[in-house]
Symmetry: C2
């Protein structure tokens, strides 16, 4: 059996050609716009001055491209709402079960030829969430519905039907090749638990937050992984402010309540701190002026600096910008304990000494740490080859889970040499889609060859035998070509982060170690356009752009809800 079905370590083959990637979307859109702009034929108007001719041409181009853009947008909107009829599910085909609805799973589903399998998707969340914009949701810069894409929209646009169950997979049994599904949502019926058999399984359930066993974090901190987390933070910011301005509040309590602390200096923590300071500068200080002297954002990081995945230059730029924005960065500060009103952290001084400090806080956002989900831990315990796995499921170069057959893992629940980012999960999803599409083609060819061999054996005429043998040789060549699937190879496209006050940083890669770093307000525009191009659907793209316009026009909402 091939290595992309069964895990058995082998040396990595040649690097694959760079995969089609998220950031390319922007380039494609630009190319599209160019071709659009060039579309209307320039009418040659005789007896006109050069200037007049040029200006006429310019007008026509403008009108033409505006017309085509609107048409293009209209087509996509129409297409989004009017999916074609689908092939019905075919239970005789091999069952391919996909667990999850995040970056990995959705990237796989988008590129998978669903007509080759009986595809079933299981996730406790019936939508895809565009996580990079989640920090913007905490302050209302983006409304949360704008970055949610219903899974049923995606599935309904596939050629063959896909079955979706909103449920949590609570256990994976590699021996019987079945899953246990549980309906954990509020509304329950007689059936809340059932089993689902699979032939092929892709695990893309992501990871969960971890508090590293630090006491008090789970009870007192807000996290930033799901929509509900962002909404909780949004409510809590306003709740802190309203409680701080309550009648007869003491000055110490007011100061505490208005101290907003973010733990974790990765992109999520940095972007959240920047968004929160923006919210204060642009909206809160105007509508609730009495909080002005006490409102304060702090960022706490255990490492010596924030944003370790960015270049030194960009880290320094971020630190300078935060200083200008009056966000305090506390690096080399390790949280040891959290109580209802205070954070206790150990600060490593330059002279090597360590000191315990207390930070009273109103809001604590915990933006660090990933741990395997219970279903993944349970599965690991059933597979001897996963005994040493810690961060997630260990997989081979084809993303097959070590120790089992026909089970793949991708994204944050797989332990690979790559960082647990959306970018990696997306590329892995696209890779697995190619793998499954290839597998289906391979199997079809193998069946054809077997059928031809039977025909050849049964045939009496030598001419027939010869034709059949040639045909078999042909198919076998195709089969060899198809089977030559390269192992997964990640191509880093770069990192982006928003750092507040309309500034962003970008660290872009162009193959072979060529890097481009950029920072400031133009980079923020690039950040915006890159994110909009990455958002999957036309609907979400438009909604995100509308949200940005809305905030520019009206500011953010200060209602506590």
């Amino acid at each position: 059996m091939a290595a992309y079905l069964r895990a058995a370590r082998r040396p990595a083959a040649l690097p694959s050609s760079a995969l089609a990637l998220r950031l390319r979307g922007a380039a494609r859109a630009a190319a599209r716009a160019e071709s659009t702009a060039a579309a209307p034929p320039p009418a040659a108007a005789p007896k006109k001055s050069g200037f007049k001719r040029a200006s006429t041409l310019l007008w026509r181009l403008t009108y033409g491209s505006a017309f085509l853009s609107v048409g293009w947008l209209g087509y996509h909107i129409y297409d989004g709402r009017h999916p074609a009829d689908q092939l019905p599910p075919d239970p005789t085909k091999k069952s391919l079960v996909v667990l999850g609805s995040g970056w990995g799973a959705v990237s796989l589903l988008k590129k998978l030829d669903t007509e080759n399998y009986n595809v079933i998707v299981v996730s406790p969340r019936n939508f895809f969430l565009f996580t990079p914009l989640l920090p913007s949701c905490t302050t209302g810069t983006i409304e949360h519905r704008s970055i949610m894409e219903p899974l049923r929209h995606i599935l309904r646009h596939k050629k063959a039907s896909v079955t979706f169950y909103e449920a949590e997979a609570t256990s994976i049994d590699p021996a019987t090749r079945t899953l246990t599904l549980r309906d954990n949502s509020e509304v329950k019926a007689d059936i809340t638990e059932t089993t689902l058999p699979f032939d092929y399984l892709v695990i893309g359930v992501g990871a969960q937050n971890t508090t590293f066993g630090i006491p008090g974090v789970q009870e007192n901190a807000c996290f930033l992984k799901e929509i509900a987390d962002a909404q909780k933070i949004r409510t809590r910011i306003m709740d802190c402010i309203e409680t701080a301005t309550f009648k007869d509040q003491t000055p110490e309590e007011r100061k505490r309540l208005l101290h907003m602390v973010v733990v974790g200096g990765g992109p999520t923590g940095v972007e959240f701190a920047g968004e929160l300071q923006d919210f204060f500068e642009e909206d809160l200080r105007k509508w609730v002026p009495e909080i002005e002297p006490d409102f304060h954002v702090s960022l706490v990081e255990a490492l010596p600096n924030v944003l370790p995945m960015f270049s030194k230059e960009l880290i320094n730029y971020t630190e300078r910008t935060f200083k200008d924005e009056k966000i305090d960065i506390h690096t080399k500060t390790m949280v040891k304990k959290v109580t209802e009103k205070s954070i206790f952290a150990e600060v490593s001084r330059a002279d090597g000494t360590k000191e315990m400090v207390e930070m009273p806080y109103g809001l604590l956002v915990w933006a660090t740490g990933n741990a395997p989900r219970p279903v993944v831990r349970d599965f690991m315990s059933k597979v001897p080859e996963q005994a040493k796995a810690r961060r997630g499921l260990e997989v081979n170069d084809y993303l097959v889970v070590n120790g089992v057959e026909g089970i793949w893992a991708l994204g944050d629940c797989a332990a690979t040499k790559y960082a647990p980012t959306a970018q990696v999960a997306t590329q892995q999803g696209a890779y697995l889609a190619r793998l499954f599409n290839t597998l289906a083609k391979t199997q079809a060819l193998e069946e054809d060859i077997a059928h031809l061999e039977e025909l050849g054996n049964a045939s009496a005429l030598p001419e027939d035998k010869k034709t059949i043998a040639a045909e078999i040789e042909n198919k076998a060549k195709s089969l060899r070509r198809t089977k030559r699937l390269m192992p997964f190879q990640y191509t880093h496209q770069g990192s982006l982060a928003y750092i507040g006050s309309d500034k962003a940083i970008a660290d872009l890669s162009f193959g072979d170690g060529n890097n481009l770093t950029s920072s400031g307000q133009m980079t923020y525009l690039f950040w915006r356009s890159a994110y909009v191009s990455m958002v999957f659907s036309t609907r979400n793209k438009l909604l995100v752009v509308m949200d940005w316009l809305k905030v520019k026009m009206f500011g953010r909402d200060v209602s506590r809800e």
Copy 2:
């Protein structure tokens, strides 16, 4: 002391002239648009044909009015975001405390001259909610943030500062003239309870849902009064659908989960039923086709027909439309008991017999019944004159609470002869604003007169005495005029309701019992424009319009969140 300060029953005076009212907004907007359109001067262009002149004029008018409209919108958006500096709060002035942030309280605050008092607003909700569009929020036709207006926006635009405390008033003590405030939100500080003294108090806390003591309603039903209620319903609709399509679900359970029951045939219940059926027809049946045979909306009403405030003709139209939309109306059906999965109701047959029926349900929305809030009940128990009050605080013709001095009540917490509607509360709020503005003027005049009398007594010259006497006479005349405040008189402007499939009904009043009834799709356009004109701020107006466009373009979101 005047009757508008202290309650003492007296016969109602002449009816006041009709008050400026919400529905008029539409007419004003139209008049504004007309004057806008007429604004640019038509340029007389010689030597042009009549057609050409007319077309030129038309173009200019179009451009001109578009330009002016954008300018007008831009001005309002700019003005909304850039409030002028305010006079600081003046604690030497009389304290006017307003409880609540609903229709009554906000209408009062919008029209009140805040510089005359030390105004303090107390509400557990720091925003105003445009309740008529709440049924649209349950299905995502309108996003909830679009109908929320932060109270601080409204207060920040007043001439003199207004203090706001996000808190619940838990008790009103008429003897010591103090309130007890409690911070009931999640984030708490050292001070969670405090007292607030008042000189004048306006109670506009609204009412709470009541279940009429029917067992099981409180535990199993969703209500429809606040934003959180609408969000809960929205999540629950999708949860029912996802649970119904869970693997191996039984056909009975699937049928039950997809049965959506609304109890209460008033405008809220009818509009919710219509919105829900729209959601199914326009979105759900496309994205989740498997629910099609079982999805079903029922409306249950104890009275013989729905919408008792509308004319017979409109009631019949609504019943016919619901029949076409396949919404079942069960009139003369009184809910007796609710369990987790079933409603038990007593149906009165035409022959006078009664029968108990069981309705299995997935979602139950309880859209009927108002009861006084605990703070109001507690206050009633302290005032002997309120011993017989049941529905709410009994007030005199000037909205003064019977049995106390300097305490007014308006909206759903006051028991008047009018229905507990937004329209009544708004007019009461505007009335009280006039009352307080008048009171301030009266007091200023009285002080002036007292001062002049002193001057007159101290003066020796007969000329001075004469001038002063004339001045006093003048002021006294003003005072008499100002004091002649009419009792509150409600002017019914009409009733509107959306009934699904782009149809609405309207029952409009034009004074002296002249009525106009209208129904259908044109009425729906009127319903929309009336609601948009009623929404207070330019920001909310635009957001509501954008939401409608969004649903037209992309449909509603089927994510469960």
